[in-house]
């Protein structure tokens, strides 16, 4: 085999890999949309149906990581770059929080203890961070990493991740807009310092600030998919 043939084969393998990465993303997004639009409509939000779907999608993502030889450290489950990621996050978070607080103040909708009335204040960040970790894992450790395989690091893959994150929050307009902004920030930070714990913490905090500042009707009860309609 000549070097030209080897190069052609390598190029073909790269194209196939990009194609596979693209279909992996589509597959995970499809699963999420099935959960939001099908399970919550015809499945009436059945916990069994939802559990089956969650199992399918997580089994798929874990198997994909194994087949691609990705370790937990590669994915961002690590502590060594936590501070670096936190440093990248802190300024945009402070700016976004200031804007949100100003909006909340002007609308008279500030209320940092109103999230899920009756729930322990200690439970709020815990729930938010856990839910944030799950979302950031799927969004960054899977979708962002696959997007980088296709388009490389940079604006295009970051924009793609943010758009996907926003699409998953349709048809809730407030949340779609907020997640697009959040998606841009978290995808950019992950590409520079892949740390899921810092992103989960940021996700939980920003969710709490969002629901504590923006008037509740604008957030549609944080409902997405079919559930948004009631």
């Amino acid at each position: 085999m000549t070097s030209q043939e080897r190069n052609a084969e390598k190029s073909e393998g790269g194209a196939i890999d990009k194609s596979l990465a693209f279909w992996e993303i589509i597959s995970v997004i499809t699963s999420c949309l099935i959960g939001e639009w099908v399970v919550f409509s015809v499945g009436r939000g059945s916990s069994v149906a939802f559990g089956v779907l969650v199992f399918i999608v997580f089994a798929f993502m874990f198997t994909s990581h194994r087949l691609r030889g990705e370790s937990a450290r590669d994915l961002g489950l690590r502590l060594d770059n936590f501070v670096a990621a936190a440093r990248l996050l802190i300024l945009p978070m402070l700016l976004a929080s200031a804007v949100l607080i100003l909006i909340g103040y002007s609308k008279g909708s500030l209320g940092f203890f109103r999230w899920r009335g009756g729930q322990s204040i200690l439970g709020i960040p815990a729930l938010g961070i856990f839910w944030g970790l799950l979302q950031q894992y799927a969004l960054q450790a899977f979708i962002n990493r696959r997007a980088q395989l296709i388009w490389g690091r940079g604006a295009l893959s970051i924009l793609f991740v943010a758009v996907m994150f926003a699409v998953l929050h349709l048809p809730n307009p407030g949340l779609t807009l907020a997640t697009f902004g959040g998606g841009l920030l978290w995808a950019a930070v992950y590409q520079r310092a892949p740390n899921l714990l810092a992103l989960a913490l940021s996700h939980g905090i920003m969710t709490w600030i969002l629901v504590s500042t923006i008037p509740a009707p604008l957030l549609g009860g944080l409902r997405v998919g079919f559930k948004y309609f009631g």
């Binding site: 890999d17 596979l20 279909w23 992996e24 597959s27 399970v39 015809v42 009436r44 798929f60 691609r68």
Partner: protein, 160 residues
């Protein structure tokens, strides 16, 4: 990286999810529109009348809604005596008949449809299922009805 295995994984996931969505759709349809309602109706001179039975709950009285020309007209319960329905083996007791009084209509031809109301999802969802066939009838100036076509329905106890 094993591209072939990843490719197979994608195919397998797609197939599993297709079955998953298909199962959800079938379960939903069976729950919301269970094939357990039977009945029959006709236009009598003074009413739209017939019978309706829920075979999964044969002792229950079926709630009904009458639509004429696609518009809701009245609701009621199939709880009138219809011994012929028992005799034909369609129900366990005779109290499954219904009769909706002739609604005020324009003179001419119309179509009535009688639907059984089915509750599912713990009462959060109600669906309508057509009982028997659509009933085509004429409304006359004297306020009387006459059926345009005789129902060719095997579930008509009169024909058994």
């Amino acid at each position: 990286m094993n591209q072939t295995r990843l490719f197979r994984l994608l195919i397998a996931k797609s197939i599993i999810e297709t079955f998953f969505v298909g199962t959800l759709a079938v379960v939903f349809f069976y729950t919301a529109f269970p094939p357990q309602f039977h009945g029959w109706g006709e236009a009598t001179p003074d009413s739209i009348a017939g019978w309706a039975v829920n075979h999964s709950a044969p002792w229950d009285r079926v709630e009904l809604q009458l639509f004429v020309d696609g518009k809701f007209v009245a609701s009621g319960t199939a709880n009138l005596s219809r011994p012929d329905v028992v005799a034909a083996g369609w129900s366990k007791d005779e109290w499954h008949g219904y009769a909706f009084s002739a609604p005020p209509l324009s003179v001419g031809d119309h179509e009535a449809r009688v639907y059984a109301i089915h509750e599912s999802g713990g009462g959060i969802r109600q669906t309508l299922q057509l009982v028997g066939n659509p009933i085509r009838f004429s409304f006359h100036a004297n306020g009387k009805l006459s059926e345009l076509t005789s129902a060719n329905d095997s579930s008509n106890p009169k024909s058994n």
